[in-house]
Structure formats: C-alpha cells, structure tokens
C-alpha cells in the first residue's frame, strides 16, 4: 500500500479497494516500526488519526469525498495544530499546545486528509540538515548515518521511507527542495503569497512559504490545489484564483525553453551530481525542451544576501518568544529583573544555531551597520530578482542542481556554519525573488539521490508541475524506495 502514490491511493479509496481506516492503520504501523530509527516524528497523533479516518470513511461512503479524503499525511511541526503539541523543533515551544489550526492544516482537514503526526525539523526552520532540532537529528532512510536535508528533514524522511503518503513542509532558503533532493522525493515551494502563512510559525516573513513533500509532481498538484488560495488572515496572501493543477498537469507537452546558468556548474558542485543533472536536462531535451545557456549575473550574491535578510527578519520574529505568555520560562532566580528574565528564558529556550542567527540579525540591523548590511542586502535582492525576471523573457524555466552534493554525514558540517549555508546555494534565489520552484529526483550518486531544480515565473505552478509530471512519466527515479522501506 505504501508504495502507491497519493493519487493512486485516492483512487483506491474512491473505489473502496481500501478503507481510510485500513490505510491509516497501515501507516501508523509503519511509523511504529520505523519512525524511531529515523526520528522523523516529534508527535504521532494515532487516536486523532483513526478518528479522522472513521469520518473519512463515512464521507467516502456518502459520496461526499474529495481526492484527499482518507489520505494519511504528516505536518511539519512548524504548523499550529489545535490541541496538539507544536514545538517548531525547539525547547522554547516544547510545552506549547496550539489553541488553533494553521490555515493549511484546516484546509487539508476540511478536504478529509488524515493527520498522522507532526514531523521533526531544524529548530525554528533554521538549518539544512535537520541536526539543530531539540529532539535530535533525523536520519536519511537511504543511509542512516547521513542527513535527510533540512529544515524539513522529518517530513522528507517520512515520505522517502513511505511512512506517510505525503507531508507538508516550509521553505525559506530551500528547506523543502534540498531535503527532497537528498531524500529522493519531490518537493515544491510555491510562489510567495500563493499559500497562506497563517498559523505557520514565522522564521523570515518575506521568504517563508508553505509547500509539500511528495512522491510525485502529480501528488504535489493534488495537495497544492487544496492548500493554495487567498486567506484574509494572511496580509501577504495573493487573491489570484487557484488553477486546477491536478487537471492541468495532464495537458499535452508544450514547446518550452529551459535556461541553464552555466555558472552553477563550477567547482562548488560535485562532478557526479553535475553529471546526473546534465543527464536529466538531456532527458528533457528528448521530451522536446530546448536548452539555453543563460547568465544570472548577481546570483553569486544570493547566499550573502540571504544570510543578512533571513537572520534580520528572524531576530524580529523570534522576539515574541520571551517566556511571558507562552513557551519556555527559566526557573526563577534571586534578584532577577525583567531584562535578565528575558535573557535567561531565551538563552535556555533556543539552541546554538538559532542564537547565532538572532545575533547575526541583531548585528546587521544595529545602528551603524544597517546601511552596509541590511539595506545593501535588500538591494542585492532586487538585482537577483531582476536577473530572474530578465531570464524569464527568454526562457520558461531556470534549471540547475538542487544541491551541491548528495546527502552528507551527520555531524560532518555542524561545526562550520558557512559550509552548512552553502548547501542552499542553488535554492535561495527562488526565495529571494518569491518564485515557485520544485526539486524532482533525477538520478543517483554512490546510491544516494540527486535532485533536479526548476524555477518558474510567479504563479506558474501549473506549468512547473506539468513539466515535472511529464519528466516523471518518462523516468522512474521518483519511484525508487530505499531497500529497508520497500
């Protein structure tokens, strides 16, 4: 059952070949078997899941189902879920039980999806390896000594190991796409504003976007349809109508041009990864795409610009975690005043990477440094965004590798923040420019998955998913499952 895609399971449920309850029990069983080893889940909501499955079965029997009714999925622990612990991977929120649902949680629940639990993640979404979580690292199902990628490592590992049919996730600098690449699955980050951020714990508000990790582009289309759309509770929410992605991906292949920035293929990219990505591009050519070499003149500024803007916004967003109204509060100390009270609550509640980012953000926003760093980074952001806009006058997509290397060892890069940050070199541009982007499996290097990265113009998710779907119909990289989990 677990090697069936979400689309196939939706068919099975509709045809009553399997019930929602049976399917949920099956996944809960797999979670019990494998989740400990992978450390993919922070909270498993078994009773709730079975209750939701029972409701789903009634809807399916009454003919009131949607394609997602009865589908067991997992939510990244960054999304608020009513009555369920929502930790954001942090000690700061270890005791926090959310009093409300995030919009995407609500929409998926209304569609009848079943929540298996909340997945592990880098603390406050800050990381590219899922090693900064208060709840310990997540392991890559392809090799347990390796990272699954981050920050949505738990969601990625769960889908890769087929212990959830799909999972929600978030992407600020690559946190959906990079784990998708390292874990051999499909990861979609929509256009900024396409999916509501209400109830999604904020890291960097101008970059954050909710998205999905799935086995296929077709599955991503089904989920995006239910999640996307205007939400009056999110002031950055777009009111553009939501296309029927799941129908549009089946439309015939159209003539398209794919721009490839040759600067991506330098020494920063492992040669075998480069070869796998080139082979995937050749496959797209065989399908009828035209490849065109392009230049993104300022793309080399993405990592520095991001590591100014994101920490700056994070330092502001995370100032709400002060131990007053919710979250971690340190034990009382004699002679404490309000300032030391805040400092101790936050000092104890946050892990090392989060503290580093808050301090970096504070530095670049402080008097005397604001112009040289924050303002300069915002200008670099404009240049990078304009680069993409210019490219899209000539090409339909911008393609490249998702990640410079396959999955690396747990502990290998934790002492070198810059080495860790460079994992995001290909993905960050799409966040800075607010563009939709996807990573799809395109090969293997030393038995580890490699991802192909595609960026599209704003609100072009339908075309992006369509080209990914056509690629997946012609190849089978996305159908590979790590041996122990098949």
């Amino acid at each position: 059952m677990h090697t069936r895609t979400l689309a196939q399971l939706a068919d099975d449920l509709r045809a009553r070949r399997v019930s929602a309850t049976e399917l949920t029990r099956h996944y809960l069983g797999r979670i019990e078997r494998f989740a400990g080893k992978l450390n993919a889940f922070i909270t498993v909501t078994a009773d709730q899941a079975l209750a939701q499955a029972a409701v789903a079965d009634r809807r399916l029997a009454d003919g009131k189902a949607t394609p997602l009714t009865g589908i067991p999925l997992a939510h990244k622990d960054i999304f608020c879920t009513t009555g369920v612990k929502t930790s954001c991977g942090s000690r700061m929120l270890d005791n926090f039980v959310s009093p409300y649902d995030a919009t995407i949680v609500e929409r998926l629940a209304n569609a009848g999806a079943v929540m298996l639990g909340k997945t592990n993640m880098d603390e406050f979404a800050m990381g590219s390896s899922n090693e900064t979580s208060f709840y310990g690292p997540v392991r890559n199902p392809w090799d347990l000594s390796l990272v699954p990628g981050g920050s949505s490592g738990g969601s990625a590992a769960a889908v890769a190991a087929r212990i959830a049919a799909a999972a929600t996730a978030t992407d600020t600098g690559g946190s959906i796409r990079q784990p998708a690449a390292l874990s051999g699955i499909t990861g979609l980050k929509p256009t900024y504003g396409r999916v509501s951020r209400y109830g999604m714990i904020a890291f960097a508000s101008s970059l954050d976007q909710a998205g999905v990790l799935t086995q296929t582009a077709e599955d991503a289309a089904l989920l995006l349809e239910a999640m996307a759309g205007f939400d009056e509770r999110d002031s950055t929410s777009l009111d553009d109508p939501v296309p029927r992605y799941s129908q549009l991906i089946h439309e015939p292949w159209e003539k398209l041009t794919i721009g490839v920035p040759e600067s991506f293929f330098d020494d920063g990219l492992e040669p075998e990864n480069a070869a796998a990505v080139r082979a995937a591009l050749a496959e797209l050519e065989k399908l009828g795409a035209k490849l065109k070499s392009i230049e993104l003149k300022y793309i080399h500024l993405s990592v520095p610009a991001y590591y100014v803007v994101a920490p700056a916004e994070a330092s502001s967003n995370l100032s709400r975690f002060d131990g007053v109204r919710f979250g971690h509060r340190a034990k009382r100390a004699a002679g404490e005043d309000l300032t030391t009270f805040y400092m101790r609550n936050r000092g104890e509640g946050f892990g090392a990477e989060v503290k580093r980012r808050i301090l970096t953000g504070t530095y670049v926003l402080s008097a005397g440094y604001f112009d040289a760093y924050y303002l300069q980074a915002q200008k670099a952001r404009k240049l990078i965004s304009d680069d993409f806009a210019r490219a899209f006058r000539d090409v339909d997509f911008v393609a490249g590798p998702t990640s410079p290397s396959p999955a690396f060892g747990i502990g290998q890069k934790t002492n070198d923040p810059i080495a860790m940050y460079l994992n995001d070199v290909y993905t960050i541009g799409a966040n800075l420019a607010g563009l939709p982007a996807i990573s799809i499996p395109c090969g293997f290097v030393r038995n580890l998955p490699v991802g192909l990265h595609l960026v599209a113009p704003p609100l072009a998710e339908a075309r992006l998913l369509k080209v990914a779907h056509h690629f997946q119909r012609a190849t089978d990289w996305h159908a590979r499952v790590p041996t122990s989990y098949a």
């Binding site: 926090f96 950055t236 240049l383």
Partner: protein
C-alpha cells in the same frame, strides 16, 4: 572581526543570554558569518531600489471594526504564570 564585547552588546540588544563558555565559539562563528556576508560590499548598488519582499502590492487594509472574540482563557492555557488573567513577570523597578 567581532570581539567578545560586541557579542555582549548584541546579546543585550537581543535579550539573549549566552554563557561565558559559549562566548569564544559564538564570537568566532559570527565573525566568519560576517566575513561571508561582507561579499555584499563589493557589489555596486548605486541607484538600486531596496526590495523588502516579492510582492508588488501595498498593505491590504480592512475596516476598523472589532472582529476578534475574547478567548483569553484558551490562550492563557499555555501561560507559565497567570493570576487574575494577568501574566506574572519579575518586578520592573525604574
């Protein structure tokens, strides 16, 4: 290159405590991060408009009417210390 005094000042500004033992590592790591983002300085951005976010929109407004319901009991369920609906914190003496 950042110095421990810089880290101290930033910690106060951010209301974030780090232990004396952590200071050398935080100083070194933050210095390497600043050195990396310093690459931005080499870029000529004369005449470039700063970009705060990807949307070409103004802040959406709504009528100035109360729409929220009082749910403080539910929200205060997560509070560390509450008395008579008030959040308790150490005394602030000016």
């Amino acid at each position: 290159m950042l110095r421990p005094e810089d880290i101290d000042r930033l910690c106060r500004l951010a209301r974030l405590e780090i232990t004396p033992a952590e200071v050398p590592d935080v100083t070194a790591k933050l210095s390497s991060i600043v050195a990396m983002v310093d690459q931005l300085k080499a870029c000529d951005t004369t005449g470039v408009t700063p970009m705060a976010h990807p949307l070409e929109r103004a802040q959406r407004l709504r009528p100035d009417v109360v729409t929220e319901i009082d749910r403080h009991e539910l929200y205060q369920g997560n509070a560390p210390l509450v008395e008579r609906d008030l959040y308790l914190v150490p005394k602030v003496i000016e």
